[in-house]
């Protein structure tokens, strides 16, 4: 049942082709039922999970490799599942008003459902490999969503950028998972967590940690991998609201939270995770203030908020983990609402340029209030939910588990980042909705609020107010179970609006005071930020340059190697063969030229060997094709004699007839071909050919001699077949029994190859194509 629920979004996609033509724009309402139902379904698990009883379901998938489709629904997974489905419901409902008739609605809703299903898979699975699969599915589906308006080049660029960066991180993460597997012998998350102390002590810990963090940081847009997120703003606004508030970027945070009990608590974890997180917090908020596009504002604001949560996971204290869980919830609500508000502004006025917008509160008062509430919540103004989690953030930054520079540096960075957060939040509200309109030509299409799009953000904004006043509402049912799931043991903290006069309150006061001053002097601050930033060399340029460079190298390599001349390919292949195999043989000391334990040689065998060598030389050096063919069949005939001599009567019979038939074949076919000419080849080329051929042949001989000397080929497997041929296969001829019985499927593959080759010859010769490729 739980499995079906998680796969429901995928299943629902199959209905869309039938629903879209009938319902047209209203199909969104039908789609919205899916997350709504799932939200209610997952909400039903709250009592059990909050009681400390995670839901565990196991489905065997590839048991040989330890891959189970296991579902592990604890407080952490449940918080994410509720955010994914809850926000999913609001976003899909919002999209009904946002997307016009002409948009490709079928694509949009199927992409968003697929994305929703992938996210649910990521957060509910209990197996790392399954998590990886769903993780990459979110990368692919978000690529489709970001590139929804694929006719615009900039959309394609943004989609590709997000996918390249997140898939790069995903691959690194997979490697990290494999390290974890090597340490613990399991892909099961609970098993790995149970062995957390072994993981941390293992010598593979650091590589595993760095690789997994790469995955989390790329997905959660942490510095310096944040560059994909601003470009992802080319997506339709509902998509941005969904991807950047509750889902895509939160997948990285989920991974951090999920593996905290296994990987966390060490100095490496502390400095890497909280260092990167705080840096991202400051950098993102610093960059945000100079943006002019409203969505770019929100993009950098998202980056910085993600940095804040990442830092909290890095702190690895009970309080920090609870604060992180709470802030994940708050960020989903206020950022989702803010994106929707920006979408409304864009929809109504046709622009998102902050320099030309202004005074919109007169046209859309409720929208202005929603923007104000949510932005204030983000800024951390008292009485709103964001304030509560920010206070917890400050408190946690003051109670770090590690001593040293971090003791004063990290709280300072927290305050600095929050000051800029405060500043851009104010700019977002007052520059757009306050003051006077700066450009008279830009005004909303009609007076009043657009309620078809406004109701989802209104609900989300009211959540901010209610939770801000009564944080206890979600404390027991969502935040603490999620924190306990992260911590790996029950976490008891108290969420409250008022903690008394203490240092965190002082920090908040500083943030509000300085932030307000910065906001008043925003011209000066913005020009300072612009001055600091270097346009000619930044991370985006590096990304673009590296793509071009990659392409150039690939082209260069292809042109060098794909000459269209068979000899060149073969030269590469055999050179590589001689170097790699020969090099390994010699460097690893595998060369073993013992002459012990050989079977006896008589004059008969020596004579055969001489004839076969002579025949082969004849194939190479005889001047006419007829002579060469006959020489080749001479070689074949000697091979037959070798089979007889070496006690392989079946082979002798087979080879004898094949030699006959293939000689006939060669004679038939070569009769129509021109006579062999003496090849005119440059001396150097001929020399290269000889060296390569000679070296390869010598290497083969050395390999065979060394191989025989090792004794690894001693017939261990053969004993089984010789013993069981009669009792199991009912045949005296072991070779035949192996062919048709023991290895019957192989033989079946082989006769299929013969069939394909015969049909290929038939069609090559019989089916004539004209010069232009048309059948004659």
């Amino acid at each position: 049942m739980l499995l079906i629920a998680i796969l429901l979004p995928f299943l629902a996609v199959f209905l869309l082709p039938f629903l879209v033509p009938v319902l047209q724009r209203k199909v969104g309402w039908a789609v919205a039922l899916v997350p709504l139902f799932l939200f209610a379904y997952f909400a039903g698990f709250i009592p059990q999970v909050a009681g400390g009883e995670p839901v565990i379901v196991n489905y065997q998938w590839v048991p040989q490799m330890g891959i189970d489709f296991s579902i592990y629904l604890d407080g952490l997974a449940l918080l994410f599942a509720l955010l994914i489905t809850g926000l999913g419901f609001f976003v899909v409902s919002y999209a009904v008003g946002y997307l016009g008739e002409k948009e490709n609605l079928g694509n949009f809703y199927s992409f968003i459902l697929l994305f929703m299903g992938s996210m649910l898979g990521v957060v509910t699975t209990g197996n790392l490999l399954v998590l990886y699969i769903f993780w990459e599915l979110t990368s692919v589906t978000s690529f489709l969503l970001i590139g929804f308006w694929f006719h615009r080049e900039i959309s394609r660029y943004g989609a590709l950028k997000s996918m390249l960066i997140t898939v790069f991180g995903g691959l690194a993460m997979l490697a990290g998972f494999i390290f974890l597997y090597l340490i613990t012998g399991s892909f099961n998350i609970r098993d790995i967590i149970a062995q957390g102390s072994d993981v941390v002590a293992h010598s593979y810990y650091l590589p595993a940690l760095i690789l997994i963090l790469l995955g989390a940081f790329t997905k959660s847009a942490q510095f310096p991998f944040h560059i994909w997120l601003p470009n992802a703003m080319e997506a339709p606004t509902p998509v941005s609201a969904y991807l950047h508030s509750a889902t895509m970027v939160k997948a990285g945070l989920y991974l951090l939270a999920r593996l905290t009990p296994a990987l966390g608590g060490t100095p490496e974890w502390f400095y890497l995770v909280s260092g990167v997180g705080l840096l991202t917090l400051c950098y993102g908020s610093f960059m945000a203030v100079r943006q002019t596009d409203l969505k770019a504002f929100l993009a950098f604001s998202t980056i910085s908020q993600l940095g804040l949560i990442t830092a909290l996971f890095g702190f690895s204290t009970k309080l920090a983990v609870a604060a992180a869980a709470f802030h994940i919830f708050n960020h989903a609500t206020f950022k989702g609402a803010l994106f929707m508000v920006v979408g409304i502004v864009d929809h109504e006025t046709g622009t998102r340029d902050i320099r030309s917008l202004g005074g919109l509160r007169e046209y859309m008062p409720i929208t202005a209030i929603v923007a104000g509430v949510t932005a204030f919540s983000m800024a951390g103004i008292p009485l709103l939910s964001g304030f509560v989690s920010k206070e917890m953030f400050f408190t946690a930054s003051l109670a770090l588990p590690m001593a040293g520079v971090a003791q004063w540096l990290f709280p300072a960075m927290a305050v600095l980042g929050s000051i800029f957060t405060f500043m851009y939040s104010m700019m977002l509200v007052f520059n757009v909705f306050g003051g006077k309109s700066k450009d008279p030509s830009i005004r909303p299409h009609h007076q009043g609020d657009n309620w078809s799009m406004l109701w989802p953000p209104v609900i989300l904004a009211s959540v901010n107010i209610i939770i801000g006043l009564f944080p206890g509402l979600v404390e027991k049912i969502l935040v603490l179970p999620a924190a306990s799931g992260t911590w790996g043991a029950p976490v008891v903290e108290h969420l409250a609006l008022w903690h008394g006069f203490n240092t965190p309150l002082l920090m908040s006061a500083i943030v509000i005071l300085v932030g307000f001053l910065f906001f008043r002097g925003q011209q000066a601050v913005v020009s300072f930020v612009e001055g600091v930033q270097n346009h000619r060399f930044n991370l985006n340029v590096l990304y673009d340059k590296s793509l071009v460079w990659l392409n150039d190298v690939a082209t260069w390599l292809t042109v060098k190697q794909m000459t269209g001349f068979l000899r060149d390919y073969l030269v590469f292949i055999f050179l590589w063969f001689a170097l790699s195999v020969g090099g390994t043989l010699i460097l690893k000391g595998g060369l073993n030229l013992t002459t012990l334990d050989l079977s006896p040689v008589g004059p008969y065998e020596i004579a055969l060997a001489l004839i076969i060598v002579g025949g082969a030389l004849g194939v190479v050096f005889l001047p006419t094709k007829l002579a060469a063919i006959l020489s080749l069949s001479g070689v074949g005939a000697v091979v037959v004699l070798f089979w007889v001599n070496l006690r392989a009567p079946d082979l002798a019979l087979t080879q004898l007839i094949v030699e006959t038939v293939s000689t006939i074949l060669f004679l038939l076919a070569f009769a129509h071909l021109p006579e062999l000419k003496k090849e005119v080849v440059a001396k150097s080329q001929k020399l290269v050919n000889m060296i390569i051929a000679g070296a390869s042949g010598l290497l083969i001989t050395l390999l065979m001699v060394s191989g025989n000397a090792t004794g690894l080929f001693d017939p261990i497997i053969a004993d089984y077949y010789l013993r069981e041929s009669l009792p199991l296969g009912g045949g005296h001829n072991v070779v035949n029994v192996v062919l048709v019985d023991f290895r019957g499927i192989d033989t079946m593959g082989e006769i299929t190859v013969i069939s394909i080759a015969a049909l290929a010859v038939y069609s090559l010769v019989k089916l004539r194509l004209g010069k232009r490729g048309n059948a004659e």
Binding site: L653, H672, G730, N733, N736, V740, G744, A758, L759
Partner: protein
């Protein structure tokens, strides 16, 4: 591709039956003695290829109405069919079984599903070689 030689033609005509009979013998005893589907198939095909050499291709085609491509299909069908039959009877694809029956006069005879599979191999080899040789042989006239 004609060798207008009376001696060759006469011998080829007589040899055809002998060779085909011998090839069937090789096929049948393959499980216990040298032989089997590959060898039997090659030998039958060789017998037919000799006819192509001795007479001209159209004549042989009329006298021996084999379609190589169809033989390939039939052979693959035998192989897969045997495998599937084993699967339905014993649960595993190509898990052969065998039994011995005592016939009057001939004595003990071994019956095995592996023989059916070998027959498939035989047909594919015959069909494949005939297809290849006729396709190339018909050219250049």
């Amino acid at each position: 591709m004609r060798m207008e030689s009376i001696i060759f033609q006469t011998i080829a005509r007589q040899a055809l039956y002998v060779i085909i009979l011998f090839s069937l013998f090789l096929l049948g005893r393959g499980h216990n003695e040298p032989g089997g589907g590959f060898i039997g198939g090659l030998m039958t095909a060789a017998a037919i290829v000799i006819q192509y050499l001795a007479f001209n291709l159209e004549m042989v085609k009329k006298a021996l109405p084999f379609d190589g491509v169809k033989l390939i299909g039939l052979g693959l069908l035998f192989a897969v069919g045997t495998g599937l039959g084993c699967m339905f009877s014993y649960g595993t694809f190509l898990d052969h079984s065998f039994t011995h029956v005592i016939l009057p006069f001939f004595g003990r005879l071994e019956l095995t599903t592996a023989f059916l599979f070998d027959l498939g191999v035989y047909l594919v080899v015959v069909g494949g070689i005939i297809t290849i040789i006729t396709a190339i042989g018909e050219e250049g006239k």
